[in-house]
């Protein structure tokens, strides 16, 4: 039997009426959970997990994975409309997506995000279908040293992408990394900067920080002239992307798919890292880099495609090796285990209907999500018509409930408020908050990877560059830095020439 035959068998399972229903429920729930700030795919999965105990394993996993990739679709909605990231993978979308919304182009942004998500998600499943076993073996080779190099690369890329002077960006990144160290040291259990409170021992709540730095600060900035924040009144025609938009987005989507799929290999935070890699690439390759930050559609298309493209490759370690690469897939793992299905090398041979049924359902799910999200664009965009006096408090209320729903800890609302104030002041003084937040996301893993690599090599720093993957990533860092230096020198030369020219014009001999 060829892969095609297996896949057709999978479709037979996935298209059973009850499985179609479960797929739909999962996708719908995933979209809702992705849209609501605070609740993310992890929360959505855990809320629905107990309901799956009574289902067949294939059905359970079809529904749960629908939540997983569905949330990647929903997350872009609040990012674009309100500049509040629905979840970590949508942080980059906030930047250009919201700028587009401000220009009355929320419709095209949402449509492009949806289409890009569909293409990224579907192609990712194709990759999963065709290449799962060899890719799984490849993923194993990425050890702690390579992981650290990759994350350093990601931060470097983040630094180049950010607007503003280099020093300010580095300061924000380092601050974010420091914030990530708050809590119990993951390797030794020693409490760092916790002031003796157990509640902080897992670190500051990421959701509280994200909603504070992006959501609350945005609202505070607008509060200054709340009565003059004009609600945006989109017309029907403006909902549809222009031909120029589609032309600008297509290459971004293609690149985003590739980037997302490749980054799916990074354990733990693939969906976030892929978005800023995509953003950076789009900005570097764009003919109009100055548009980025002010509503460049490629800045929405690329990242949104990339985060969906990680969903397929993120499933590979789970399905082929039985190892959950990201927390959301850990829930899928436990759902399978409860049903007596052990993911791992024997999954494909012992439970083919689960494996192929799941893959087939991912194709179907992506289609369902596209059909769900596109018509809703009109509805969502109309939310922006609400006068800001009412919109802002309502949004704050949703954020508050979102935060409380995660840990039932009212103090986190205070943390959100504190970060809102910090974000407000930083933005006023032109410090970019995105690098800060993204550094917090990867800080933990980056530190742990470095220390593990050093433990394994027994303190030998040179060993960090010994395996193939580490060399590739470190090499990329060197190349990027070199390119940036050359560009800077050329930029400086050009500036000198321009000055020379203008002074000679002023003082004609």
């Amino acid at each position: 039997m060829t892969t095609f035959d297996y896949l057709m068998g999978g479709f037979a399972v996935a298209t059973r009426p009850d499985n179609l229903l479960f797929c739909f429920i999962g996708c719908l729930w995933g979209t809702i959970v992705g849209v609501l700030p605070g609740l993310g795919p992890l929360a959505g999965l855990t809320l629905l997990l107990p309901l799956t105990y009574k289902l067949e394993p294939a059905s359970a996993v079809i529904m749960l994975s629908g939540i997983f990739y569905g949330a990647m679709y929903g997350g872009s909605t609040t990012s674009i409309l309100l500049r509040i990231p629905g979840e970590a993978a949508s942080i980059m979308t906030c930047i250009d997506g919201h700028a587009m919304a401000r220009q009355g182009r929320a419709g095209p942004a949402l449509v492009v995000a949806g289409v890009g998500s569909f293409i990224g998600g579907t192609m990712s499943v194709v990759g999963l279908t065709l290449f799962a076993p060899p890719l799984a073996q490849l993923m194993l080779k990425v050890g702690p040293a390579a992981e650290f190099a990759l994350m350093a690369l990601a931060l470097l890329v983040m630094g180049f992408v950010s607007s503003g002077p280099v020093l300010k960006t580095i300061a924000m990144v380092v601050l974010g990394l420091l914030i990530a160290t708050i809590g119990l040291d993951p390797l030794t259990g020693f409490p760092r900067f916790t002031f003796g409170r157990i509640e902080i021992s897992e670190g500051l709540s990421f959701v509280a920080m994200a909603l504070g730095l992006f959501g609350v600060s945005e609202i505070l900035l607008n509060m200054e002239d709340v009565l003059s924040v004009k609600p945006i009144r989109p017309t029907l025609a403006s909902l549809i992307p222009r031909a120029a938009d589609m032309r600008a987005s297509a290459p971004a989507i293609a690149r985003g798919t590739l980037i997302g799929f490749v980054f799916g290999f990074v354990p733990g935070i693939s969906h976030v890292v892929s978005t800023f890699a995509s953003y950076a690439v789009e900005r570097k390759l764009s003919r109009h880099p100055e548009e980025f930050g002010h509503g460049a559609i490629a800045g929405v298309a690329g990242p949104e495609t990339a985060n969906n493209a990680t969903t397929g490759s993120a499933m590979i370690p789970l399905l082929v090796l039985g190892i959950p690469a990201i927390p959301a897939t850990a829930i899928l793992l436990s759902a399978l285990m409860i049903h007596g299905v052990n993911p791992g090398p024997q999954l494909v041979s012992e439970h083919p209907q689960v494996f192929w049924g799941l893959i087939a359902s991912m194709y179907i799910g992506n289609l369902m999500l596209l059909a769900l999200n596109l018509p809703l664009v009109g509805l969502f965009v109309n939310l922006l018509r609400i006068p800001y006096a009412w919109l802002a408090p309502s949004v704050l209320l949703i954020c508050i409930v979102g935060i409380y729903s995660v840990n039932a800890n009212a103090a986190e609302i205070g943390i959100m408020a504190a970060f809102g104030l910090i974000g407000y002041m930083l933005r006023k003084l032109q410090f970019d908050c995105a690098p800060l937040l993204l550094a917090v996301v990867i800080g933990d893993r980056m530190e742990v990877a470095l220390r593990r690599a050093l433990i394994i090599s027994d303190g030998n720093w040179a060993a960090l560059a010994q395996d193939a993957f580490s060399r590739i990533f470190l090499g990329a860092i060197v190349v990027l830095v070199a390119l940036q230096c050359i560009a800077w020198r050329l930029g400086v030369r050009r500036k000198d020439l321009v000055e020379l020219k203008s002074t000679s014009e002023e003082n004609p001999t």
């Binding site: 855990t46 809320l47 629905l48 997990l49 107990p50 309901l51 105990y53 993923m139 194993l140 080779k141 990425v142 050890g143 702690p144 119990l184 993951p186 390797l187 030794t188 259990g189 409490p191 003796g196 157990i198 509640e199 021992s201 897992e202 354990p267 370690p317 090796l321 039985g322 190892i323 959950p324 927390p327 850990a330 829930i331 793992l333 436990s334 759902a335 285990m337 409860i338 007596g340 052990n342 791992g344 090398p345 024997q346 840990n407 593990r452 433990i455 394994i456 027994d458």
Partner: protein, 321 residues
Amino acid sequence: MSHSIRTALLVVLLATTCAPAAAQEKFPSRPLEVIVPTPPGGGTDIAIRLLAELAEPALGQKIVIVNKTGGGGLIGMAQVVQAKPDGHTLGGLWNAPLTMTPHMQPAPYKPTDYVAISLADSAPTVFCVKKEFPANDGKEFIEHLKKNPGKFTYGNDGVGGTIHLSAERIFSKLGVKTRPVPFGGAGETLKNYLGGHVDIYGGSITPILPYIKDGSNKCLMVTSSEKLVSMPQAASLSELGVPDTGTALWHGIVGPKGIPAERVAILEKAFREAARSDKFRQYMEPRGIKVEAASGADFRKLIDSEYAAMGDLMKSIGLTK
């Protein structure tokens, strides 16, 4: 959604039950709450959920699992200890918050603050190596490690974690020096071991089982005093001469101190029956996990002896607070 209906039901019932429960009231008189101090989906969470589901018929009430994460299990356990001791709020846990973590960090409770109700299951940890490793049974394994102090790395579940401590308990007795590399859990340890980044896998049986079955790896040591039927190549601790140094990863039910004795007895009976049921057995045994279904008294003995042993161990390796 039945989850929210359950929650709503619980809310309404709790709100209306303001008067102190009459002594003759039937127990349990409303749904029970079992607090699991881990995120959903982990080994402990799955085991406790299964156990709870199987105990519901005997108790005649629904059991709601509440996940309360944080502090390595301390936060959730603290909530158990502070709950009203009427038997309706319990805790479903594994070793660390009771016998290990309190030695490393100030815990908001003492061993006397809770009552042990029943031990459900326990699983020893195993130590496995790739098939090319120059040793074929436990004794050769220890010999080889002794000859190369500090050379080999083994993956564990974090400093002060169950695997780390159970390994050190044995290694220090045998005079073996290895380098522990902390990972976040069995999944990560497995991944790094398979990728060749650490030499020895130290962790629970279930994740590594498929890789033993296909012959690419071999398990040479198990941290229990008897051998495991499923892994004949793995030496037991008795065979290695150190029978009392075993630590298993176990799961059990506890409750706040002060629950009336008759209620504890009812709970103990229900959870022991649940653990002895076929469904529980069928889940645990293929994974190499032993069903215990121990009484509260036996469970208490285990907790106390392990607590003392861990205290000594941690002092000797310098982990105490």
